[in-house]
Assembly symmetry: D3
Homo-oligomer: 340 residues x 6
């Protein structure tokens, strides 16, 4: 296997707080010998867990990016026990362009794992995470939202990993994010996800859908920032006292799941989509979730999207103009946490 | 003045319900003799007011488009008294492209009035409204939202027209939209607005900001559809009993205004913007409304946007990546309706 | 009025054959002080008519461009009586880009007349034709086809100008193009056409639709080149003996017209269009001219385009994917030439 | 090998007529969890051959798409014996965009076989055809034309597969398409074709070039639709009586071939190309097939394209503006069918 | 005439140093109520001349932008006598995009004068300069280079204004820029230039071509910054002692002119251009200035560009790929300054 | 391994001078069966070395392309001893588009080696060089410049290959290019370079950076053309007498090297970059090499780029607008040639 070409001046074992970056070499038409820079901060203070904290895996998912940018400036070494590695934005070109996919190579970064040191910039960075950063970490935190294309009920979420000890620690960590609902999901499409690779390495993986859609209200930023601090305390890397759900004014974690392909509802044709159910609203099988109008032909009966089963709506459509086959709704079902 | 080149088969004086369109001739590279079609429905039943109901002035503002598309299919002539002219989408190319401006001529349709029969497609259509549809109407309703670029506290809104009789009828009509807040605005930038031309012709003009941002939740669709029906009953064109604010569970209309240029806050530089205040939240002079981070240089102090005066936040920023000079917040101030 | 800024080294009164160009100044991002060059050849030999021969008014109409490029190389001064001005391509940027409209200013050159010396490149050139070249000419020939967007039954065509002497000379010249069908058309959309301005100046204007669609078969090139030579002989500018229609194996000219807006049929919605009638085929009112399929939803009944009246099909749709409002068919009706 | 991620609700073994689609998961900037939908209909009635009928392999080749869309709506189970699988458009994004290549991944679908379940959308679909649909089929029919870039003499065509029994059945099936000319071609460039993979699996493969160029006249649609029905009857999957060539007013099949790289003629430089020979016209070695003019420099001698050998012209150039190296002509040679 | 809609917080009469901007309202698809910001600094100290100093009229001309950005940070009120208004970049969208023309409205800012308060952003800003900033100024300095498209011998340059007093002050100011060569030019194409409007108002106008081409070497930055400081001292707005040409190691100003259209040489066709003469090199009539190769057809004789007269080369071509009609050379001729 | 699909009519062993091309098959939306043509000339005369001479590896590097285009037309077989293979432009689509990377496949051709016969056009051509042209050659010459993105002190350059005999011949050949400075470089980023593959095959590889930036002055063309002729004489393939450095007015070769990653300096953030040091200027550790201004916020302290060590500047930044991570400077260090 080739050596990963990423260069950095950071020393992950040095105590104190460092600001630096990963430099990924590539060539573009206005830069023959250019590097894509991914900013990284390392805050290390004594012995303790190593926590890798990331956002911007998809460029258009901003609450986690803001939360980590705030921590970058707010945290001093004395706030930390162990090592906290902050990557506020894994995909700066996509974040700058407000896109999900990297405009440099067209790739979905969350389908690039385990990566390739001779590949595109996304593949090189995935390989670096897989071979350098994941192995040194105990916790891997990757903050997502529904992105521009989907609204999402704010939640921590996770895969049900087969190792029961690992699974149990992940369940507890997810609950520490203090979201009303906690979500189990399946990879209905594709492989090569970041959390899958980290889980395979036995890491405690914590992920979220901190809302979604293009506009991020202040309340979502606040929830993301508060939940993240609580999780970091839970992990033991941030000093402070973990807030229990009760202390946060929340009941016990409500676990829901969407493990069936039918739980994901798709636009039956292209057109103007009306969301007909609110996020978090209970739905019954046969309820109208939304409908697609033709603006060329308003006389035409709109194409309907129905609920296929009872549950609650955890995700809905962002842009009103939909393409055929775009996901427009996700229905989840309560699950008894004692069975997990 | 040249004749307006728009062709239609619709007869605005014919009783019953007609579906048709306005055909605006233009030439494009894949259509030498093409027409842009703007769908229109005319529902006429006996004597009564003529109400011109429109949405999609800006393509990326969808709740009004959906509300009118629903009325298009739901209303029968017997539901109407007088004449209801429905134009669900004034700007189909922009609506299809999810853009504010027309992709055909790059124009902001709401800056094209009074229009030009020899101009671009937007200018031709504006001229048709100015010379054909406005003169025959008593009420002119133009449904807006904040569009993709801005979130907005849902409200009916209006200019303070100088004619007091016209003003008073507009105030009453705006209140019939049953929004918590009703908004007085000033044209801080530019001329040529649709409502300004209609007001100049003495029409009762009713406009809205039915929320904003790219994702339209079901609750906004419901509010827009219910408010619109109540307004149409108020105008006397739709049969039914007008619901009072009290019957709708609302208090008296709360009127707010943003008439000072300083009420509109702009991004001091380009970067990643965090909304720090919720829509509808009260702010004090000096409060932090938002801040702009640099993802290239997280060590840099974010650029701050401060409240310049006390008030409530009625609009905030949609896309998290902002350009210098983009509007990121609008602060409004309570006004005593007895003074209006 | 400002002076037209076009520069040329050509001397339209000099005997012999000159190759040169019109230089239209403009600025682009890779050329601060650039000129758009429009190649022109002037062939003058003694006294005789001045004939201005042009093609490439719309960039994607090539048979006339090829025919004039061939004459440019084939003709010597001794072949000419009077003055022949050859402009093989009025719109080189559009011709190079295979587009109808100019990629430099987005304008339809055939809607730019009488032009503007301070306007865009298209408007400057139109002004030059209007003020310099039309006044010196007796005949103005502008060779069109249906372009990429439309197939067309090959024909010479014309407006019915009000001056009867001018009209009669134009009828005779059109018949000299030796097309099976000769066509009278109306400007159903827009003003500012090149032939309208030339007619206004009293010129004998000769135009064509030499077929259409993107592929130009050899037979159309041959017909265009032979017809054009015969017309030039008819005008008296090219030496030789005019071929009568009988000598060309043709019957008397068949004149048809499409003067009613309904003769032009438009796509009722966007989708995949099937041409159901051949060019030149007779149609009866109510015949199916074509239909629009949905490739997203093949179960849906295709949208139909019907003949509104009896006649023959003189134009049909080029690209199979149509946008709502694109012209998909033109039906023409026989007219008795004795009434013209 | 990974599992193919395509999902469908269709049951290929269920009697009757089903409308459904293949859902290919992918991610785009406006759809995080999207599917590309490829519409499919399955019509099954009792025992009989399984015929897989496809078009839209290249998006800009429409006659086969229209023919299958018509069958989709016209056929009832009782018209069928065995199983008919209809895929009117293999490449909907390309078909909608009027392009040969997929705009989603830039791939030529006809170079993607045998495919890859972890690849791009084109590669995933090719893998599904290779592993699911081809194995269950006896006949594989893939309807092509010359596309936008080439005109083509309408013909059924095929490779000379080495298995003589398979070859003989393919020859008979091709002749049942009732085209004047039937064509043997070689893969002069590239591998990975759909028919090559199907032939490798021993299928009876039937392909066409049903004309070409952007405009599809009614006559080509009619020929494609009639020929296709006759082929389906020939295969035994459609009820009815096969029409012989004599009954169709045709002579015995004329077989021609272009197996030499020199039979394909390319533009010697970029410029404006004139087709000088008609499709189907006989050419002699040394004949001028076409020429490339410079519109910048009309004085320059056009670059000539000559016939390298005797034969007939079976394909010519579509867009008049050519790039250096584009194919502008294909010359074929008669072959004695008894030698095949 | 409408009021100019530009807003600014700057007070041009306030003593001291202010940093602010001009806000030009406009709407774009990601900003409904946006402003284009043009940064401006005003440094005022007591009585003295008002000097308006600008760069970035064309976005891709950077030495002046850098020079003014440096002054912005370096100058304190006590360095100034009178008022110095600094606009480092008149066209920020073009400067950011590295283009000559504004990407917002496609306009060449230097052809927009006197401007239009209801026009595009470029026209609004031109109107503001014409009606607000020019009238209050005594000196108007606009720093240009050849931009990306042209190399240029570094020089101050000017029009020969008819008012002899104004002309004489302009000649002296130009010589104070301390360039080897000083240049008289004519507007060979178009009207609406910034300096023309300022001259019309009787201002002392100072302009430059501080080199050109995309790469700006350190030596050009140094020359621009030193020359500009000397000019500001010459104007009396900057304290210090003006350096004479002799003190700068220069001889008397060498004045050259290109007033004939033939002095500007254009590419005869598109292709790969080789500059054959150095900037500043003497040429004789008939010398080869450059030649255009065809990379498609290397056998072809390159198209030649010849010197039409004796002189020196003051400008040459930047990008090696040229379009037909792009300016590739400018030849200037010595002029006796005593005749000016 | 598959056969390389490139076709050519050239016979590399035939005496005399041939003009031809390599035809690389590919498909694009306007050309179904197209070939990319790479012009090649072969000049062979008797026994002697085989020299492969190439430019246009990166499209935007023109001096070598012009030099080889001139040799193509100037050389006759009698000027040659052995075989000279001329490829003036390896990447015609990039050269035409003025880009570094191929617009056809987005690849950096100089990272495609050893290539792939089933890959994209760049990979197919790399494979052809690797498997056909390199094996038959003794000398491989690949002429580069800094391209559009970088200025470069004109130099021949090379890798320090491990084989000392090969290395020594390469050192002598580089010195024959007669540049003031000769440069040793390291591949700080990426693999797959053309010279690396040729070196691996034991070839004498000669490469250059013949200046850089978009504008190529006449002096650089002259230096490249003269140096190249001297190298070809040195190789023994061109008749004539090699000019020694002394005869060319040069001292002994000055060898410099940049083998440390720190020798390459990158933009710390995006903005407007000022080059502060001239090419060839000596720098001391800590000198300011350049600085990045914010045009949005001129009050901000520019980001500085410092020299990390003593040396001379051999490369600087081309476009003034830089992206974070673009290379803005390269510092080289003298090396004693006796140690090489």
């Amino acid at each position: 296997m080739s050596t990963n070409p990423i260069h950095t001046d950071l020393d992950y074992s040095r105590p104190g707080k460092q600001s630096g970056h990963l430099a990924i070499p590539y060539s573009h038409n206005l830069g023959g010998w250019a590097n894509l820079r991914v900013p990284v901060s390392v805050i290390r203070n004594g012995e303790g867990p190593v926590v890798l904290l990331m956002a911007g895996n998809h460029g258009d998912e901003y609450p986690g990016q803001v939360a980590i940018l705030r921590l970058w400036r707010e945290l001093a070494p004395e706030d930390v026990t162990g090592t906290l590695i902050l990557i506020p934005c894994l995909n700066p070109p996509a974040s700058k362009a407000s896109t999900r996919l990297s405009p440099l190579d067209g790739r979905n970064f969350n389908r690039c794992f385990p990566g390739n040191p001779n590949g595109t910039v996304s593949e090189i960075l995935a390989h670096y995470l897989t071979t350098v950063l994941f192995p040194m970490s105990e916790y891997v935190i990757d903050l997502h939202t529904g992105g521009r294309s989907m609204g999402f009920l704010p939640c921590a979420h996770m895969h049900l990993v087969p190792d029961l000890a690992q699974r149990n620690r992940m369940l507890r960590a997810a609950e520490a994010f203090l979201t009303e609902v906690t979500f189990l999901y399946a990879d209905v499409a594709g492989t090569g996800l970041l959390p899958t690779e980290a889980e395979r390495q036995g890491k405690i993986v914590i992920t979220t859908e901190m809302g979604g859609a293009e506009l991020v209200p202040a309340s979502i930023h606040r929830q993301c920032q508060a939940g993240l601090r609580n999780v970091l305390i839970h992990c033991g890397v941030l000093r402070g006292k973990e807030k229990s759900r009760a202390e946060a004014g929340l009941g016990p974690a409500r676990w829901v799941q969407s493990l069936d392909r039918e739980d994901y509802r798709f636009a039956p044709e292209s057109g103007l989509y009306e969301n007909c159910v609110e996020l978090g609203e209970a739905v019954k099988k046969g309820d109208l979730l939304g409908q697609v109008f033709s603006i060329e032909n308003p006389d035409r009966e709109p194409a309907k999207v129905w609920a296929h089963a009872d549950g609650i709506l955890v995700a809905n459509r962002g842009p009103s103009m939909v393409g055929q086959g775009d996901c427009v709704a996700c229905v989840a079902h309560d699950v008894d946490p004692r069975t997990l």
